[in-house]
């Protein structure tokens, strides 16, 4: 695989301002780095200040622009504060990437095991935060004339998954959110999409490296033969969706998964 050459498009998102939630690590960090490598000012929303600062430091070390804001995305006041801090620091907001996900997302549940607290935790981050981010960011995304609202989704939101019905349901619900909001915000030139990634996260690496035979079998599901790098593959797709090149694409869930899901 040829490494992504970020030096070819350093100004693709020049002077644009992006918020990435759940950017204290994992996919969110990869997305934030990709947006910064493309010239955007990136606001790192992370539940723990230390992880957000780590991501910001990585971006600064690479010559990029970043601000870390400690944020509980399920808290209406915290989300409003995040948006206010972003606009206060950078003078506007062009791109919102809602990537944050509950820690329960990867946990297996039989239907009968789901309780109100576990549901509220997952739905609060997947759906409540999506609503709050959209509501708080709307005036700024409208005013910029090139607004982007992107939700990190999952293949389970497309084909359904048995493992965690709440995860599947909330990821599917996010797809509905994106479709409806794309129609509602189209008149304001705000583009709304979802990305369903197959990312090689740290957790995925551990899982795959624990059993090479299982890993080899799993890779056969991907025509490209690998899971995606969080910055160079998944981040690059989010950069593309954020750029002018994809400004006429809205309301979609885009699988960014090496060809894993092709049933659309």
């Amino acid at each position: 695989m040829t490494p992504m050459d970020w030096t070819r498009t350093p100004d693709l998102l020049k002077d644009r301002v992006a918020i990435v939630t759940g950017a204290g690590g994992g996919i969110g960090r990869g997305l934030a780095e990709a947006l910064a490598l493309s010239g955007a000012h990136v606001v790192i929303a992370a539940r723990r200040a230390a992880t957000g600062e780590e991501t910001a430091a990585l971006i600064h070390a690479a010559g990029g622009s970043a601000l870390a804001v400690e944020t509980d995305v399920a808290d209406p006041a915290a989300v409003q504060q995040l948006v206010d801090a972003t606009v206060g620091q950078f003078g506007g907001l062009d791109i919102v990437v809602h990537n944050a996900s509950s820690g329960l997302s990867g946990k297996a549940f039989k239907l009968a095991e789901i309780n109100a607290a576990d549901y509220a935790e997952q739905a609060g981050v997947a759906l409540g935060a999506a609503f709050l981010l959209a509501r708080s960011s709307f005036p700024h995304l409208r005013d910029t004339g090139r607004g982007r609202f992107i939700v990190l989704n999952s293949s389970q939101g497309l084909h359904g998954g048995a493992m965690n019905p709440v995860y599947t349901a909330t990821k599917s619900a996010q797809r509905g959110f994106v479709k409806a909001l794309a129609r509602e915000w189209g008149p304001y030139d705000i583009v709304v999409n979802a990305v369903a990634p197959a990312a090689l996260t740290d957790a995925a690496k551990v899982y795959l490296e624990s059993d090479p035979a299982r890993s080899a079998a799993a890779m056969k599901s991907f025509p490209l033969g690998r899971m995606g790098d969080m910055c160079d593959d998944i981040g690059a797709a989010v950069v593309a969706l954020s750029s002018d090149y994809w400004r006429y694409v809205t309301g979609l869930t885009v699988p960014v998964d090496g060809g894993y899901y092709t049933a659309l």
């Binding site: 389970q156 619900a173 797809r175 409806a180 129609r183 309301g251």
Partner: protein
């Protein structure tokens, strides 16, 4: 249709009432034994125990559960968080609760579950963001449970029906429209009692139970999804 079909119709909210009563009438015309339970509000929770007492051992359960708050048209930016939660998040949780209540009565017995909702969620509807979110969440839940319950001899499917065939609530909704819909060729607008009830009955037959986790779009051919 099998002669001894036993059907539960369970729902909540005004949309549940609009949808399930005509379906009950249509299934009764087809010879099914029917038990109907509609809670006025989603939070009141339809009583599965009452259905079990009235008509035990159902073959088919038909569900339609939408909070009235989800039917109120409003731009997202003007919506309160409380309304959003009631419409989208609480609505989805109550759907999960309903499936949990159904599980002991249906699963492992070779039953079929069908949820029905307006097809507007397939394409999205402005001013009804919470409703679209809820419906797609319910549709995803159907897929997840089809996978969980498939090995236990139970099917779960979703019917996406033309919104205006379901309820007058959608009469003036800003629905996306496909100019070359073919409903005329299909004999006019879809009717719940006449057209959709037989599809439900089919899904409880041995042939129909080969379908699970599917979205059956009964919208007169308007949106032909990939």
């Amino acid at each position: 249709m099998r002669a001894d079909l036993r059907v539960w119709l369970i729902g909540a909210g005004s949309l549940g009432a609009d949808v399930l009563q005509p379906l009950a009438d249509g299934l009764t015309e087809l010879g099914a034994d029917i038990a109907l339970e509609i809670a006025l509000k989603v939070a009141e929770r339809p009583s599965v125990d009452r259905l079990a007492a009235e008509l035990p051992a159902p073959d088919l359960a038909v569900l339609c559960l939408v909070p009235d708050a989800a039917l109120a048209r409003q731009p997202l930016a003007e919506q309160s968080f409380e309304t959003w939660k009631e419409a989208a998040q609480d609505g989805l949780f109550e759907t999960i609760r309903l499936f949990q209540a159904l599980e002991p009565h249906l699963v492992d017995r070779g039953g079929a579950v069908v949820m029905i909702g307006p097809s507007l969620s397939l394409v999205g509807c402005p001013e009804l963001v919470a409703l679209t979110t809820l419906l797609e969440g319910q549709r995803g839940l159907v897929k997840s449970l089809a996978r969980q319950w498939g090995a236990r001899n139970t099917t779960v499917n979703w019917i996406a029906a033309a919104p205006r065939a379901l309820s007058a609530a959608f009469a003036d909704a800003p629905l996306a429209a496909k100019p070359d819909a073919v409903s005329v060729a299909l004999g006019g607008p879809l009717d719940l009692q006449r057209d959709i009830a037989p599809v439900l009955a089919f899904l409880a037959t041995p042939a129909g139970r080969k379908l699970t986790g599917q979205t059956l779009t009964l919208d007169g051919g308007e949106w032909m999804t990939p």
